[in-house]
Symmetry: C2
Subunit: 427 residues, 2 copies
């Protein structure tokens, strides 16, 4: 790597890639390490899970993003330990990668708040594999019910989404749309109207951080689309064939999608870094890990403070991207002998889509949109951020197709996340 | 199913779907049974294997093809037996599907001609899972070599394609192009020029049934693109880390793609149907199975005779489609009390593509194309046949993208066919 300082970025999500990009043309060598050879556009995973997009549409090969960045190399590998004395990252295959600066950007994993059975029988929506597993599982339920309609009475077509944040709202809305628009034609004899989508939220409103008027708009839209929204309710237990709610009621179901929250990737704690609530790495104002001069944390794995006061910033893509850019700038400043600056998050708004021509959006300056204008705003923003022009065109094609034809393409049961959910063959 | 005769089609490939389509608006009930919920456009699997197309681009949900065909239903299931007395198909989950006419269209599987180790260590290119497995495996070889360049000397980047027919020629050409155009930029420090593509053919020419001038064009083009073509050579043994040729030479490699031939799906023999060479079902001139009045066989599983004389027709998509259409017409004739007619295959030409703007095509009337005109002919014909308009647009997008940018999108290591080819983690 020559004599230039070596910046090692662990994790190729929004945060890690923002660090890497921010160091283009700087007098450093950059190595991005990820377990996978692609980056995932997580905000659209729910579309893969509901047969709206191909898996490949939301994945982009990391190497392909950096063809023109000459100071960067990509390594596929899994970090298992850090040798602090020798300042080197150790990978699962025993390779060692020395660093001058280390940026931890390994993201998060689902958290189940200790709900019995959730770990085994619920599926989160955080990785591409999760999304494909949900897609295959949902399609398999309809195939099973089509082969044996009696299963519908046993809950085969009851789908429970846990968590009324953006992911839960988007997933529930997209499922309802998939059933009523596409599956109605795919399974004409099944009586798809008997399929139920149940969205469970522990608070008394959906979309917690949104304005009450947006919350109400989301609730009204989902209910109009036949989603059963249960507020002030929690899932107390998940089994292979039902969920039990905190209220005591049991609902037969074979499908529980867990969108109720994430905690930091366990690697942070395993490396011995100081962690706060949710396992997130404690960072100073400049995003350096507490007690470490050359170690930074960005994205969902970190707990950056909100400079406007209050608790840590939420685990969202914009925070990851902005914190990554900040760390790149701070490393540049340190190399130039200048002091670091505190991170300031610029909130450019939040949005959530509920289905065909329906979304809620909250933009700076207290601008609140709902319905069709919000949907177009959501569409444009997400297209803008999908990595790679080709993926953008492909996403556009799939969306345009779904919009014009009320059809969806990629509802194939294939690959990755098959959960073996088929009924067992006879002995 | 009422009183209308019930036609059960087993297999949703080119042949089976042609039967089903041919029975639209006829006074029959049709059931299509397939183990998967999608049909695969097999002629483009090599593009998935070489990161040119998404897996979903060559797969289309079977149900989506028949929204408007009211006399048809689709069942996902695996046929394990036939009860001839009760005239019913039995599925793996013990469901029974009674039939008046049965069409067997279950396709083929790879055949290894008894070459030791080929079954375990070579991958065919017949199913979508095969193609994704090859894609992941190839990408993993480059990742491994990039992490440890010493592996190149041990054959990590040697890729052996067995069989010089269209699939082998197309795969070898596409691999060479993928390496020289895309991987050269993805792995700038690796020296991708050290990667080798070796195409092995037992005969003294590629593309057996083509005219010698087309054969020579294919050979010249592949060699110009650095593919090592070995004619009059065979693979005698495949191991995890090398192949041994009939000539005695050994070549270190971890990748053997088997495009050397197929045999009929073993279900045909398991059902006790009369089979000929390659396990193909013996059919009469009208494509009924010998000795059965109401059982037909089409596509790769069958051995229809060439009405122009000679042996059975080749196991190619056009034969499957035409034989499927023929069976639909014969069933209609029988229902109308008319006698069946013999099947006549109309050869509309064959083509094979070798890479960017290069192909060979042989059309009726002894028209032979090569180079760019053949490539455009190939492009248009395949686009025409890809099932579903949306897939067609997506394929077009991927091709156009690859053509304009010399880049490829879907080179992600993900899903289905991962072969666990990563080097083992330390104990």
């Amino acid at each position: 790597m020559g004599v230039r300082p070596h910046v090692v970025v662990v994790g190729g999500g929004f945060g890690g890639l923002a660090v890497a990009r921010g160091l283009d043309k700087q007098p450093v060598e950059v190595t991005v390490i990820d377990r996978q050879n692609f980056t995932t556009f997580q905000p659209l995973l729910y579309q893969v899970a509901t047969s709206g997009l191909n898996a490949a549409d939301v994945a982009h090969p990391i190497r392909g993003l950096f063809h023109r960045q000459r100071n960067l190399r990509v390594q596929r590998g899994e970090v298992t330990a850090i040798d602090w004395d020798r300042r080197a990252v150790r990978l699962a295959d025993e390779r060692e990668v020395p660093f001058d600066h280390l940026v931890l950007a390994v993201g998060a994993v689902a958290t189940y708040f200790g709900v019995p059975g959730a770990d085994e029988h619920a599926t989160p929506l955080y990785t591409l594999d999760d999304a494909v597993q949900v897609r295959n599982h949902v399609l398999e339920r309809f195939e099973a019910a089509d082969a044996d309609p009696g299963l519908v009475d046993e809950g085969e077509l009851n789908f429970v989404v846990v968590g009324g944040g953006p992911t839960g709202v988007e997933t529930a809305g997209a499922l309802a749309e998939l059933f009523s628009v596409v599956f109605r034609r795919d399974y004409p004899t099944l009586g798809v109207g008997r399929a139920r989508v149940v969205l469970v939220e522990a608070q008394d409103a959906l979309l917690g951080p949104f304005h009450p008027s947006s919350q109400q708009a989301a609730l009204d839209t989902l209910r109009a689309r036949q989603v059963e929204v249960r507020l002030d309710e929690m899932v107390a237990e998940v089994t292979p064939d039902h969920v039990r709610f905190a209220s005591g009621e049991e609902l037969p179901t074979r499908t529980v999608i867990w969108a109720a929250g994430v905690r930091a990737h366990p690697l942070a704690a395993a490396l011995g870094l100081p962690t706060a609530r949710g396992g997130r790495v404690e960072v100073g104002d400049d995003l350096r890990v507490a007690g470490h001069d050359r170690v930074w944390a960005v994205g969902d794995v970190a707990a950056p403070r909100d400079h406007r006061g209050g608790g840590p910033l939420p685990q969202l893509a914009p925070v990851a991207m902005q914190s990554g850019g900040h760390v790149a700038r701070q490393i540049r400043r340190l190399l130039e002998g200048r002091p670091t600056q505190p991170f300031r998050f610029h909130d450019r708004g939040t949005m959530a889509t509920i289905g065909r021509r329906s979304a809620v959006a909250e933009l700076p300056g207290r601008v609140r949109l709902s319905g069709t204008p919000a949907w177009f705003a959501w569409l444009g923003l997400h297209l803008l951020y999908v990595a790679g022009l080709r993926n953008r065109l492909s996403v556009l094609l799939n969306w345009f197709w779904a919009y014009v034809t009320w059809d969806r393409g990629p509802r194939i049961i294939f690959g990755g996340g098959s959960d073996g959910g088929e009924r067992p063959a006879p002995p």
